[in-house]
């Protein structure tokens, strides 16, 4: 509670001195009680400390009230004086509040995301003991259903092993049909996770065996579809057209399960597939690497015993957060960038406070001369700094709230939706940033106050120059700001270039004039025939819409996973990529998508029944038959039927420029029946955004109950695939602009203050015959000198950071000379711009003025 106690002591300065001691006692009792209460609730020490700190900050209201009740200020009148002082210098006050508030808000927002997505432990007890037992190639391959009991028997290794299968269901009978993601799990699955429903009960063995169908709701569905109705337990709801009884509601923390986002849990009746994904809880006494080793040995033994060849390897995967390394590295880079900005903001505010302190030296000396105690001078600065920090904190909280919302919009939707932890402003991060803000305010506000307190009031009223150490300190702060701004600018330049290259990349089709429509499949409710009819009716209506140049359907991208290819000319060959997407398409596909055929022909309706005809992309054609025509040739994946190539398209990147599934594509012809649940792509004559409204209207005209899963323009789809890079590019751009502005404001402040201080000296020099260009030159030299030292320091930082950047960049060098040159020039030009004002003032120094003022 030390931190919270410190806050209360600090705030107590506001309380009239006769009541101060008792006031502190009462708040300490309050905080003590709150702390005991929080600890009793099982909170972690850090969370408790942060909450108690926030409670301590509430004491400001109480203290301010007491101060206000005291009536007109007494001998010190700290608060009123401070407020008056701040209001009288609005530009100083607003600059500090804006600078610190922006820095604090941006940092809180980014760290909030990093914390939720990367740092905070998964919301299950002892999450490090949760593992997925699976084929060694991927945790999604799972194990075969037969071996499940074998793994369950290993009770010295696992406390329990349970299977799960992801599925999707349609909820009907409550307004428009809604599609939800469900997990079908074995009873006992929730015990493995360590989760209990907050309402109702978990599944039992009877639920999986009995006649009655039951379901558990996740918090999100309970909130959205049932308005948190506590009587929902026992109610019957219709899933895929069958009545299910709600038996419970999951706690709000459980928004995601190992398989992905979860809305509903269903009991697994009997294993629906030959392979099942698993979740196991390791025995507490077994370290994970030992368990890993044991699992391999056990599997080899079991396979041999059963005479299985080719049974692969089984291993343990720890339950990860489901975020790719790009997101991880991206967020870490952002955290670093935002830390740079926060430090810039602190350095800037520190410079402003030092400057203000220096200009107030005469005031302090005057106050000291007329009897103000050192305590009251220090108190004045302290209260002023506190007020500034509080205001900056409040502003920062607003900025953080707004930024988190903005950031969520920029993040890849999968990252946000698949986060285990809910993403909301984290009080610990905010408390930390706030504490740093207050400390900056106090530390740099106090330096001049202490000095003033010590000063003898001999020269009161005379203009004084700041001490040498003061100037050095401010020069250092200035250099730091420029250096940090340099880092931010280079970062923004690199990510911006990288993003540009990604977006400029030729995807092999024309996303700019396309709209992609995905519908929730109602086939389980309506049957295949009605679904096909509805799909055809919809396509027909869409084709008739004004502004539509074409409509095509393509079927859910399947993958060949870990495949081997062979041609008639060449024996088996393992391509370097482990996936190969294959897509089922209709005859209009290539035309509508704007994919050019390099050789051969497109599909015609009769190709569907004609057996194994395919179209492949140029990458695959080159890989199979380098420098030879591919049309008419045959290839196959191991032991499959031979496929004849009838056409070759240009290189396509349908899954985004990064090509997450490798460069090879195979297209198969498919009939309208086969494509009834496929994605609809609509080609627009004009701006595709104009089509989204009529498309929505058409969908609901054809079938009012049909939910739309997504409706995005082609550009939006591409953006989504490069969202990680885009996020970095957009945010670092903002951060860099903010950093540049702060640095420029800092340089301006520094130089104009020193010009103001040297006004007399400059005046005398001019009187003695110094020429104006020399005076102006001196101003530029001092300002640009600072800028150059800053840029050079920043460059050192850029070199140091360049080691970590390549993974985040696309076709861009981390030490891109153009970007570095641009950043350095931009900074120096901006600094030079900031010097124009002070240089003008120096040049117009009138010696007569100077002499008069002496």
């Amino acid at each position: 509670m030390t931190g919270a106690r410190f806050v209360v002591r600090l705030v107590s300065i506001l309380v009239p001195s006769d009541r101060r001691e008792r006031w502190v006692d009462e708040w300490v009792a309050e905080l003590h009680h709150y702390e005991v209460h929080l600890k009793g609730g099982g909170r972690s020490a850090s969370s408790t400390a942060a909450r108690v700190c926030l409670r301590a900050i509430e004491s400001v209201g109480d203290a301010a009230w007491l101060r206000w009740r005291q009536g007109p200020p007494g001998s010190t009148g700290l608060v009123r004086h401070s407020l008056v002082g701040l209001v009288r210098r609005p530009s100083f006050t607003l600059s500090v509040i804006a600078t610190l508030g922006l820095g604090l808000g941006a940092s809180t927002a980014i760290f909030t995301l990093a914390d939720a997505l990367l740092l905070r432990p998964l919301p299950f007890p002892e999450p490090e003991r949760l593992v997925v037992v699976s084929d060694a190639r991927s945790p999604n391959r799972g194990v075969d259903a037969e071996s499940l009991d074998f793994w369950r028997e290993q009770d010295r290794l696992f406390l329990d092993v349970r299977a799960r299968v992801g599925t999707s269901v349609v909820l009907t009978g409550a307004g428009q049909a809604r599609s939800y993601r469900a997990e079908s799990v074995e009873p006992g699955f929730l015990d493995v996770l360590g989760v209990r429903p907050i309402l109702g009960r978990p599944f039992t063995a009877d639920d999986a065996a009995g006649e009655a169908r039951v379901v558990l709701l996740a918090d999100e569905v309970w909130r959205e579809a049932f308005a948190r109705d506590r009587d929902v337990v026992g109610r019957s709801i219709e899933l895929n057209g069958e009545a299910h009884t709600v038996i419970g509601v999951l706690p709000p923390g459980v928004r995601r399960m190992p398989g992905g986002l979860v809305h509903l849990l269903l009991p697994m009746r009997e294993p629906p597939f030959a392979r099942l994904t698993t979740l196991a809880r390791l025995h507490p006494d077994i370290p994970i690497d030992v368990a890993q080793q044991r699992v391999r040995e056990l599997w080899t033994g079991w396979s041999e015993e059963r005479g299985l060849t080719d049974s692969g390897q089984v291993t343990l995967f720890s339950l990860d957060r489901g975020q790719g390394s790009e997101t991880r590295n991206g967020l870490l880079a952002l955290a670093a960038a935002v830390a740079c900005l926060f430090l810039t903001a602190c350095a800037n505010a520190a410079g402003l406070l030092l400057l203000r302190g220096a200009t107030r030296t005469p005031e302090f000396q005057l106050r000291a001369a007329i009897g103000a105690s050192r305590y009251s001078l220090v108190g004045l600065v302290l209260v002023e700094s506190l007020i500034l920090a509080m205001a900056a904190g409040a502003f920062g909280l607003l900025v953080a709230w707004w930024s988190v919302r903005g950031l969520l919009g920029l993040m890849p939707s999968t990252v946000v939706r698949f986060s285990y932890n809910p993403i909301s402003i984290d009080e610990r991060v905010f408390a930390f940033g706030f504490a740093l803000t207050v400390l900056t305010g106090l530390a740099f506000g106090l330096v001049p106050a202490m000095r003033a307190g010590r000063a003898v009031a001999a020269r009161a009223g005379r203009t004084v120059t700041a001490s040498g150490s003061d100037v050095r300190l401010r020069a250092m702060l200035q250099v730091t700001q420029v250096a940090l701004a340099m880092l931010l600018l280079v970062g923004a330049g690199l990510f911006g270039r990288s993003f540009e290259r990604l977006m400029d990349d030729d995807p092999g089709y024309d996303p700019a004039s396309l709209v992609a429509l995905e519908l929730t499949s109602l086939e389980r409710l309506r049957g295949q025939e009605r679904t096909t009819a509805a799909a055809q009716a919809l396509d027909e209506r869409l084709r008739g819409l004004p502004g539509v140049a074409g409509v095509t359907r393509s079927g859910g991208t399947g993958f060949l996973f870990d495949y081997t290819l062979e041609t008639e000319e060449r024996p088996a060959w393992d391509p370097p990529t482990i996936y190969m997407p294959h897509q089922y398409v209709d005859t209009a596909f290539f035309n509508t998508m704007g994919i050019a055929l390099r050789a051969g022909r497109g599909f015609v309706a009769s190709d569907v029944d004609n057996g194994a005809l395919v179209i492949i992309d140029e990458d695959l054609a080159d890989a199979l038959w380098p420098n030879e025509p591919a049309v008419g040739r045959r290839f196959r994946t191991r032991d499959d039927e031979w496929l004849t190539v009838i056409g070759v398209t240009e290189n396509v990147k349908l899954d985004g420029p990064i090509e997450p599934f490798g460069p090879y594509y195979i297209f198969y012809p498919a009939s309208p029946e086969e494509l009834r649940n496929g994605t609809v792509a609509i080609r627009s004559v004009g701006d595709p955004r104009d089509l989204t409204r009529p498309i929505r209207a058409t969908v609901s005209e054809v079938d009012p109950d049909q939910p739309i899963r997504s409706l995005l323009t082609g550009t939006e789809v591409t953006r989504e695939t490069v969202a990680d890079t885009r996020l970095l590019a957009v945010i670092t751009r903002y951060l860099a602009v903010a950093g540049l502005l702060l640095a420029v404001v800092g340089v301006y402040g520094f130089v104009s203050f020193s010009v103001a201080q040297r006004h007399r000296e400059i005046g005398i020099r001019v009187a003695l015959g110094a020429d104006i260009p020399r005076v102006v030159g001196a101003v530029f030299r001092s300002g640009l000198g600072l800028g150059m030292v800053g840029v050079a320091t920043g460059l050192v930082g850029v070199f140091a950071a360049s080691r970590f950047l390549p993974v985040l960049l696309y076709e861009t060098q981390p030490l891109d000379p153009l970007v570095i040159a641009f950043a350095a020039t931009a900074l120096l030009v901006a600094c030079a711009g900031a010097l124009l004002g002070p240089a003008h003032r120096a040049a117009s120094a009138d010696p007569a003025d100077t002499l008069r003022s002496e």
Partner: protein, 104 residues
């Protein structure tokens, strides 16, 4: 003195024998930064009086000593008025106790 909703709620908490500031914060759910100024205002107007517990006792129990607030007879009258003005507040706490229970 204005009889605001927070004031009425704090009065009701005091009627129900929650005499420490932190207790009032806990049972009412109002922020500490609001509760304490309300208590101070009530005390200033004579609706509430406060006393500090024996520091020796707090020391024995290893915690800071507490300040206890108690309604004066004026305060009780104000509490009745508050309950009439804000009938919902009374329902937060259940039946009223007429006397403050002895300090446990």
């Amino acid at each position: 003195m204005r009889l605001t909703l927070p004031t009425a709620t704090v009065l009701e908490a005091l009627v129900h024998g929650h005499g420490y500031g932190f207790e009032v914060v806990e049972v009412t759910g109002i922020r500490a930064g609001t509760v304490y100024p309300v208590l101070r205002r009530l005390e200033e107007h004579g609706y509430v009086r406060s006393s500090w517990e024996d520091p020796e006792r707090a020391r024995r129990e290893g915690r800071p000593s507490r300040r206890n607030y108690e309604l004066t007879s004026e305060g009780r009258r104000l509490a009745v008025e508050a309950a009439e003005r804000y009938p919902g507040v009374g329902r937060m706490f259940g039946p009223r106790s007429l006397e403050r229970p002895a300090d446990a």
